[in-house]
Symmetry: C2
Subunit: 192 residues, 2 copies
DNA sequence: ACCCACATGTAATGTGTTACATGATTTT
DNA sequence: AAAATCATGTAACACATTACATGTGGGT
């Protein structure tokens, strides 16, 4: 039988909007719409998804038995489908939490590609691309810091909130590091 | 004509392995195989792709006229297809470099999801997940630092190499920030 | 009138992964 | 003899985005 060896390719076990949704719903039962709102805040900073994707994924998770649904009528508003995590869903979430993902999360940063092709264009193009991103990152950092001082600083935190706070701290440090880098980068580019 | 407004959804103009490949090939013409090697190093740190995806994308780019191919016979080895960027391809790359991507790059970090669900499991599970990632990030940081001191430190750099160096600096600062965060996080978790 | 928030979806397309497939040469 | 490197690809599937679609009620 003739086929050679190069088979041990990647195996990212992550790939899981599923588990992000289970996590968000384990807090409190919610509708797809609610989730797509919430996911723009705390948890969604680390795992992004559009509302279409969320609706599809919720339907799958329900079929699979990890979620249950209940249709709730509302006065003056469309009905909503409120999802909750089942016992099987919770089991799956806990299982996933113990398995080790061998890869670091992949990065897809267009600005870095632009950097690597920077010599092909006027330095002003690169400078302005960096400055534009820096402005957006600064906005995000400010938002994070506000959340920190409003909801976390100087308060006694439950274990759950403590973990949330660590997530926020990760966001803060990430943006700070990016902004420091951008200063270094702009200083060097300016000198040309 | 009856349909309402909520239409102004996201519009990430990034999504571009295409441009990562154009960038890599603008340096020197290469085969898909060469690219899949190179992409594990410098540029690939910021834009990941498997060899299958690269082959498919190269074929598309050639059809589109942004790349040209030349089959090169080799002694004792399979033929290879060497791709180069065409004039149209270079035009497209430069065009892309000037357009503004309104979104910050999306993050998909499973560890952060685990954090948010941390209260559902024993703190040891979280602690060990963080430690495992920290070890991998430390390895990556060491590799970056070695590249820095071997190929960039104390040398006069061309514009092209200068930009590459800034990319590397971004990688270094990113990993440093992550590791500092992990110390903070572990210190807090340990106290429980 | 128009827009926004609420609320849920389908269809088509595009991007990315996993598994399968081949086959010569070089290293262990 | 087994395994790794070189080199390219197809097929099936899973994940994600864009565009389309509907309809109520409240604010400007």
């Amino acid at each position: 039988m003739g086929y050679a060896a190069g088979v041990n390719e990647k195996e990212s076990s992550s790939m899981s909007l599923k588990h992000a949704l289970l996590t968000a719903l384990s807090g409190k039962p919610q509708s797809g719409y609610d989730l797509s709102r919430e996911i723009e805040g705390s948890i969604g900073f680390f795992w992004n998804a559009s509302h279409q994707q969320i609706y599809q994924e919720l339907a799958k998770l329900e079929t699979q038995g990890w979620l249950g649904v209940r249709e709730v009528a509302q006065a003056g508003k469309p009905d909503k489908k409120v999802y909750r995590v089942t016992a099987a869903g919770l089991r799956e979430l806990k299982r996933w939490m113990t398995d080790d993902d061998p890869d670091l999360p992949p990065i897809k940063d267009g600005l870095m590609i632009k950097l690597f092709a920077g010599h092909l264009v006027d330095p002003d193009v690169i400078r302005s691309a960096i400055e534009t991103q820096a402005a957006r990152r600064q906005v995000r950092l400010n938002r994070f810091r506000e959340i920190e001082s409003r909801f976390f600083a100087g308060q006694t935190l439950s274990l759950e909130r403590q973990y949330q706070y660590l997530g926020l701290r990760r966001g803060i440090r990430g943006e700070e590091a990016w902004l420091e880098w951008s200063k270094e980068a702009l200083a060097i580019i300016q000198k040309k």
